[in-house]
Structures are given as structure tokens and as C-alpha cells.
């Protein structure tokens, strides 16, 4: 059978640093194919070579048996390859329609854009994903998940032979992932191939046919997914013995002998904001992890924003021990010992041109200041320490952060906040895009800090992470805090029931 895509012997280095050394990828028409591998294994680089974002140093690429001439993303699109990159590449200030139609706008007889048709077409495309939003509104006014779905919808609408999704599900909740999967299955039925990159191995078993495993820039295997086990995949991916991995366990947030809760760090009482919080109350004490549960749009991120001083309170109050005054800006929040790891890595996290070192110490600058200057010696020591302890894969601390793989960027941002030694750390999807091995490490590191007295407010769309990690879970719905679950004893079913129960109640 002829392959749709055949990439073989692909090599690529960036300024002497090898990213891919012998990578192969064979995709059959109409199959759902996964690529897995640790952070920095070269997954994104491989697809960027396929789509003309990067040039390969060596190797062959054929599409439908003929050598590929694709050298720009646009040409890839025209050749039937639609891609959702790991870093969302939409334009937040433009309307949803403009983003979906970009480059392919319907025209009127006079050659101008036919907006009426464009809006209509956009609505139809989004309908397939069960999204019903105002397509004329700015894309940026919607949540990351909606934006992600819009990006996927756009890609699917391009009549591609191959749709590539680089960690498309990382910001979606279970329901949205279900919608996505049903679209993937439909695409498959239509004969469209899907290339799927994800760190959630469970997902692969639901939709994928075959999987390509990458390690350190090389393809180390290609398997039919039904013939593999999760543990087998992980061991191949990490290059370690299955037994060893099994012994280590899978979630690192839990564990730790349960200390009695310390003194209160802050109490939010009946707070509401203009951004959609109606009435939320919660407390956080020293040495505990409080999870925020709820569906998308339930007010989890909004709660975090209010606590960090980003959105002013309309009513209610926040009592932050340690800081007497109201927290009105991020700078004040940071000074009061609060850190906030945001969910949107690209837009609210990294400063792309700056080095790993500069990104890591950005929030710490006021503390590294001596007579207006940055204390470079202390800075270097600290950065070295975190690169080691978080296992950040980089060619050196002076490497621009944009050159790091997604998961490694995430680790740098986590280090940015841990370096501050905060009292309260708000983590919005802290392990998004992080590989299974590193996820465990990051969770253990967070737990370590918590055991030393840090209070963590954890937002995660992974129920497993919440249930196993959090000491308490505050369940939110439509801007209200509706109930609280306490560990030990919380199960995923209980959490889902708590969220769903109230949902049904609302619907009734």
C-alpha cells in the first residue's frame, strides 16, 4: 500500500544542536497515527519539517509517493496538510470568523471579502464541534479551550488529506475531548488521515491506529496500538525498564504523610468580579493543595485572576495574611508572596526572545537587584540549580526560550515561580504539555515545596491530577463555589458526580 506521507532519515540541527538525527514517519491514508516521546524528543520539529516551517538538513519526504516540494506552511496547506501547532498561532485581536477563514475568505463578485458568507460558513464549521459562539467577537475574548477548538475547526475545514494536531487536547476538558474524538473518527471515515501528538497515552488507545515512538531525535519504534501496553510504550519512550517505571508509581502530587493543615494563608469570602465570578469563597492554608474543580467557564481561571490582583473585586473580600493592603496588581501580589503560573504559556508566560535564564528570573528581578543592577552571580547559580532539579532540556541557560520544546518551556516557567519562594502559588494547568516522566517529577517537586509550607491553588482539567493531588477540592460552577470535597476519600467519580449533579440541577 502506498503511504500518504513518508519521511525517512530526517536530520535537523539548530545551530549545531541536534534535534533530529534519524527520524522516520510513515502515515497511511485515512489512519489515525500518533507520535509520542519525551519533551524535546523532536516531535514538533519533525512535523514542522513536514509542513515547511523548518528546512531539513537531510532525509527524504514524499507525499503520495512523489517527493515533497513543500517549503512554506501555506504550501503545506495547499498540498492538503492542515496543522494545529502546539503554540496556538491564531490572532487573538481578530474576530473568530477572520481567524477561521484567514487566507481562504469567500469573495464577492467585486473581489472584496463576503462577510455574510464568511460568518455563515464559520458558524457551520464550528457547529460540527458543538460550539455556539458569537463569530464576530474577538477570538481572544474566549477561553484557551475555545480558541483551541477554533484552531482545530479551521484546520479540519480546509479539506485536508492529513490533519496534524500537536498536543491539541492539552487545554480541553473531557467533554471537549469527546467532541474532538468524534470529529477525528468522522474524518477517518471520510478517508482523512490524522497525525496526533499527545502526552496522554490513554487517549491514544481510544482513537489511534498506529503510533511512532521517538526518543532523543530518533524514531525508536512504530507499533500498531492495539498490540501495545501503556507501560510498554512508556518504557520504550523513556528507554527504561518497565519494572523500574512500574515501581515508581504514576502521580507525584499525592503521597507525603498528611500534615495537619497550617495557619491560613488567605481567605476569599463571597468574591465576585466583572469577569464572571459571581460568588466564590475559599480558604487556603499553609502546606496544602486546594484544587479548583469544574467545567470550562465555571470560573476557575477567573478565581485565580482575582486572587492575583488582575481583576478588581466587585464585592466580597480577600484576607491575605501577610499583606494588609488590598492586592491590586501582579507586582503587589508577588511582593505579598503570591505566584501565578498562567495556563497560556505562549501569550502570558514566555518572553520568546529572552534566554532561559532571563525568563526564569523575570519575576525575581526585584529580589536580585543590588543598586539597580542584576546580581548575575546569584542569578546564574539559581538558574543552574533549577535547570538541574527540574531536568530542563536546553543547550544552556543562554538559549532563547522559544527554541525549547513546549514541555521544557513549561518547566522554565514553573521555575520562575518556585524561585520566588512564594507562600501561595496558583498553578493553572501546571503540567500541561509535560511528558509522563517529567509530569511525575514536577508533581513531586510541587509536593516537596508544599510539605515545606507552600500553599498551592491547583487548577487542572485532568481529574486524575486533581483527585490524587489536592487535599481539598472546591467545585465551581458558573462563577459560584458550590461545594467542597475533602481528601482522603475523593474519587474521580465523586468529583465528576459533584460537578455533574449540580449541572443537572441547574438544567432542571
Amino acid at each position: 500500500m502506498q503511504h500518504l506521507i513518508e519521511m525517512s532519515g530526517i536530520k535537523k540541527s539548530f545551530a549545531g544542536v541536534v534535534a533530529l538525527q534519524n527520524a522516520n514517519l510513515h502515515i497511511a491514508p485515512g489512519e489515525v497515527h500518533a507520535i509520542i516521546g519525551q519533551n524535546g524528543a523532536g516531535k514538533s520539529t519533525l512535523i514542522k519539517i513536514l509542513t515547511g516551517v523548518y528546512r531539513r538538513d537531510a532525509g527524504e519526504v514524499t507525499i503520495n509517493g512523489t517527493p515533497s516540494t513543500v517549503s512554506t506552511p501555506r504550501e503545506a496547506q495547499d498540498a492538503g496538510i492542515a496543522t494545529i501547532y502546539q503554540e496556538l498561532s491564531l490572532v487573538p485581536l481578530r474576530s473568530v470568523t477572520e481567524n477561521v477563514m484567514m487566507g481562504y475568505e469567500p469573495r464577492t463578485r467585486f473581489g472584496t471579502i463576503d462577510w455574510k458568507a464568511a460568518h455563515k460558513r464559520t458558524r457551520e464549521i464550528l457547529e460540527r464541534f458543538g460550539i455556539d459562539i458569537d463569530v464576530k467577537a474577538q477570538l481572544g475574548s474566549y477561553s484557551t479551550a475555545i480558541q483551541q477548538l477554533v484552531a482545530i475547526a479551521r484546520a479540519v475545514s480546509l479539506n485536508a488529506q492529513l490533519v496534524i494536531m500537536d498536543e491539541a487536547t492539552s487545554s480541553l476538558d473531557d467533554q471537549e475531548i469527546e467532541i474532538l474524538f468524534s470529529v477525528v473518527r468522522e474524518l477517518k471515515k471520510e478517508g482523512v488521515a490524522v497525525l496526533y501528538i499527545s502526552h496522554f497515552l490513554d487517549e491514544l488507545y481510544q482513537i489511534c491506529d498506529r503510533v511512532t515512538i521517538m526518543r532523543d531525535g530518533q524514531t525508536v519504534g512504530q507499533r500498531v496500538i492495539s498490540e501495545t501496553t501503556k507501560l510498554g510504550l512508556i518504557s520504550e519512550m523513556l528507554g527504561r525498564d518497565p519494572e523500574e517505571i512500574e515501581a515508581a508509581g504514576m502521580t507525584g502530587l499525592g503521597g507525603g504523610e498528611k500534615a495537619e493543615p497550617g495557619s491560613s494563608l488567605f481567605e476569599a469570602e463571597n468574591i465576585s468580579t466583572a469577569r464572571g465570578l459571581k460568588d466564590v469563597s475559599l480558604t487556603l492554608r499553609k502546606g496544602e493543595i486546594v484544587g479548583l474543580g469544574g467545567l470550562l467557564g465555571s470560573g476557575r481561571t477567573e478565581t485565580a485572576r482575582a486572587l492575583f490582583g488582575l481583576d478588581g473585586l466587585k464585592s466580597g473580600k480577600i484576607d491575605a495574611h501577610g499583606s494588609s493592603g488590598q492586592i491590586g496588581t501582579p507586582a503587589e501580589a508577588i511582593a505579598a508572596g503570591v505566584g501565578f503560573l498562567t495556563e497560556d504559556r505562549k501569550r502570558e508566560g514566555i518572553v520568546p526572545h529572552m534566554s532561559v535564564r532571563e525568563n526564569m528570573t523575570l519575576a525575581l528581578l526585584p529580589k536580585l537587584k543590588t543598586m539597580g543592577m542584576v546580581d548575575r552571580k546569584r542569578e546564574t547559580e539559581l538558574v543552574e540549580r533549577f535547570i538541574k532539579s527540574l531536568g530542563i532540556k536546553t543547550s544552556g541557560m543562554e538559549q532563547p526560550i522559544r527554541e525549547l520544546s513546549g514541555g521544557n518551556q513549561q518547566k522554565v516557567l514553573l521555575a520562575r515561580w518556585l524561585a520566588l519562594e512564594p507562600e501561595v502559588l496558583i498553578l493553572d494547568e501546571p503540567t500541561r504539555g509535560v511528558d509522563v516522566g517529567a509530569k511525575f517529577e514536577i508533581q513531586s517537586i510541587i509536593r516537596e515545596y508544599v510539605d515545606k509550607g507552600l500553599g498551592v491553588l491547583l487548577i487542572s482539567s485532568e481529574f486524575e491530577e486533581l483527585v490524587e493531588g489536592a487535599d481539598r477540592i472546591v467545585v465551581l460552577r458558573d462563577g459560584f463555589s458550590i461545594t467542597e470535597l475533602e481528601n482522603p476519600g475523593v474519587t474521580e467519580e465523586a468529583l465528576i458526580a459533584a460537578i455533574a449533579h449540580h449541572h443537572e440541577e441547574a438544567a432542571a
Binding site: V70, A331, E348, A363, L365, M373
Partner: protein
């Protein structure tokens, strides 16, 4: 882009040495400088005469000083169109002060005031620009357009539109003084460039400025005082423009508010961009800006020395900006 096409298709096959375009695009400024110098050595009469060097140094200084300030503003993701007008304002103020009866009576104090006051006024303009941009969220182009239009007008009103000529050797030293045979302002450029480079490389302010330009949201969420930092950039840029205005007046021993710093915004932006500053912010190559200023100056000189009309020189400059931006954009791994 068609060129890229070929390279991609050939890349895997030709493993031998290949001409690397990225070197050219990364060091485009240096190549351009060498090309212009070679051209001049071959074509322009008397180019290798020391006098040519001195003339060019004394003229490039003002462009370079303003370009350094412009680089900082562009690094925050902004732009400052008011630099030329601020030069005119400070340039008009200085002679008014040292030719006043008070200054005639106290020459030293008068001289000091004629340098300090115009620069303070310039700094104040910078505060205004910065406040509009950062506090009121006015687009930088629009915010600085206010002084671009009104600054020169104020200068003309102050001087009644007259050409002020003067003889004041002490003040003129700024523009005509020589140390070891080289123009004083050449040294000034070097000192300013080193100071600003040091600030950008080693201080918290410099780091924060680049972070603001690189990703404003991220910087703000990391506690960077975004508004203060932006105002700082506009203030420094305006202060340097004020200084440049004084130098122009000192060179000519005359102050013509209508002409000082005319079209300087174009030169400064061109110098910054040629020097490698990204218009979207986040990078501040200070010495690059100096190199850019030298290139702009040499282009001007080359055209002038070879009898090409001023208007054509303008087109050439616009062409340089376009080319520099194109080279920036065309980079690809």
C-alpha cells in the same frame, strides 16, 4: 521566497559546502558598510581624505545619539516620531538662554543653564509621550505625533521663526570641539552608547524593558512595572534627542527652528532597524544602532558627494528601511 524553494529541494542532496545566506542576513549591516566604503573608495573623489572622516563623524553623531534612544523605544514595541521636533525645541531654547541678559551677566551659569534647561524640557516631553502611551494606552505613533506636529511649532513661536545666530565658543564646543583631532561629539556618541548598552545589559531596568517589548502580558504578570518602564524609554529617547538638538545648533553656530532635526525620525528609525532592532520589540542592539547610523550617514554622504539630489537620497533611505525589514523577516531556520 522562490529562492527558498530551490534550497529546500536541493538541501538533502548537496552535502558539500553551500553558501549560507543566514550569515549575510545576520551581519547584513557589516556587509552593507563594507560595500558602501568600497564603493566610495572607488568612486567618490577625496574619500580617503581625513577631512571626509571628520565631517562624517561630526554629522553622524546626532543621528547615532537619537538612534540609541529610538532603539530603546522600539524595543518596548513603540516608536517615537517626535525626536526631530524635540531636537528643534531644545535647539531653539539654548541660544535664547545664553544670549539672554542674565546669561551675559553670568556666563558660566548661563552656559550651564543653556544646556540643562533644554534637556529638562526634552525630558518633560518624553514624560508626556510615555504617559500617553502607557497610562492612556494611546498608540505610540499617534501619541508621539502630537509633539511631531506641535514641538517644532512651539520652537518657531519661541524664536518668532527667526534664524538665531550667535558666537559662543564655549557652547559651540559641543559641535566643533576636537580632542586628539577628532570631533568632540564622536567621543560623546561612544560614551553614550557604552552607558546605554551597560544599562540594557546589566540593570534591572534594561532587563525589564526588553521583557516588556518581548511580551508585555507576560512581563506584567511577572510583576514588571510595565508603565514605568515604558515611560522610562520615552524619557531617555527624548533626553537624547534634546542633546542632539544642542549639538546641531552648536555645529552651525546658528539655530533655525524650522530645520533642526528635520526628518530625524526617519534617519533614527532607519538606523535602528538597519542595526537589527525588531520593530515588534524585544531587542535593543545598541551598537547595531550606531552601525546603522553610520550606514545612513554614509549613504547620505555618498549621494551628496556624487551630486545626487536630496529627494533621491530620501528615496534611497526609504529603500534601506524596506530592505532591512525584509532581511529581518526573511530569516528562516
Amino acid at each position: 521566497m522562490t529562492m527558498d524553494n530551490n534550497t529546500v529541494q536541493n538541501a538533502p542532496k548537496s552535502s558539500g559546502p553551500k553558501f549560507d545566506w543566514s550569515v549575510v542576513s545576520r551581519h547584513g549591516g557589516v556587509f552593507a558598510l563594507i560595500a558602501i566604503l568600497l564603493f566610495n573608495v572607488l568612486i567618490t573623489p577625496n574619500f580617503l581624505h581625513p577631512q571626509t572622516l571628520f565631517v562624517n563623524i561630526s554629522q553622524v553623531a546626532t543621528i547615532a545619539i537619537v538612534a540609541v534612544g529610538m532603539t530603546l523605544v522600539i524595543a518596548t514595541g513603540g516608536i517615537d516620531l517626535s525626536v526631530g521636533a524635540i531636537m528643534a525645541l531644545s535647539g531653539a531654547l539654548a541660544p535664547l538662554i545664553f544670549t539672554s541678559p542674565f546669561a551675559e551677566a553670568n556666563p558660566e551659569l548661563g552656559l550651564a543653564l543653556s544646556i540643562i534647561v533644554p534637556i529638562i524640557v526634552a525630558l518633560a516631553c518624553g514624560v508626556f509621550n510615555g504617559a500617553l502611551v502607557s497610562l492612556l494606552n494611546v498608540q505610540p505613533i499617534v501619541a508621539t505625533l502630537i509633539f511631531f506636529i506641535s514641538g517644532r511649532g512651539i520652537a518657531l513661536v519661541l524664536t518668532n521663526g527667526n534664524l538665531q545666530t550667535f558666537t559662543n565658543p564655549a557652547f559651540s564646543y559641543l559641535g566643533t570641539g576636537k580632542i586628539l583631532g577628532f570631533p568632540f561629539q564622536g567621543y560623546l556618541v561612544v560614551i553614550i552608547a557604552i552607558c546605554v548598552w551597560w544599562v540594557m545589559s546589566y540593570t534591572v531596568f534594561g532587563r525589564q524593558l526588553l521583557a516588556v517589548g518581548g511580551n508585555e502580558r507576560a512581563a506584567e504578570l511577572s510583576g514588571v512595572p510595565v508603565k514605568r518602564v515604558k515611560i522610562g524609554a520615552y524619557v531617555i529617547c527624548a533626553g537624547l534627542s534634546g542633546l542632539a538638538g544642542l549639538i546641531v545648533v552648536a555645529i552651525n553656530s546658528a539655530s533655525d527652528a524650522a530645520r533642526i532635526g528635520n526628518l530625524m525620525e526617519l534617519d533614527a528609525i532607519a538606523a535602528a532597524v538597519v542595526g537589527g532592532t525588531l520593530l515588534q520589540g524585544g531587542k535593543a542592539p545598541i551598537f547595531g544602532a550606531i552601525l546603522g547610523a553610520v550606514i545612513i550617514q554614509l549613504v547620505k554622504y555618498t549621494l551628496l558627494a556624487n551630486g545626487v539630489a536630496d529627494e533621491v537620497a530620501l528615496i534611497a533611505k526609504a529603500g534601506i528601511i524596506v530592505l532591512a525589514v525584509y532581511v529581518q523577516q526573511a530569516r528562516k531556520e
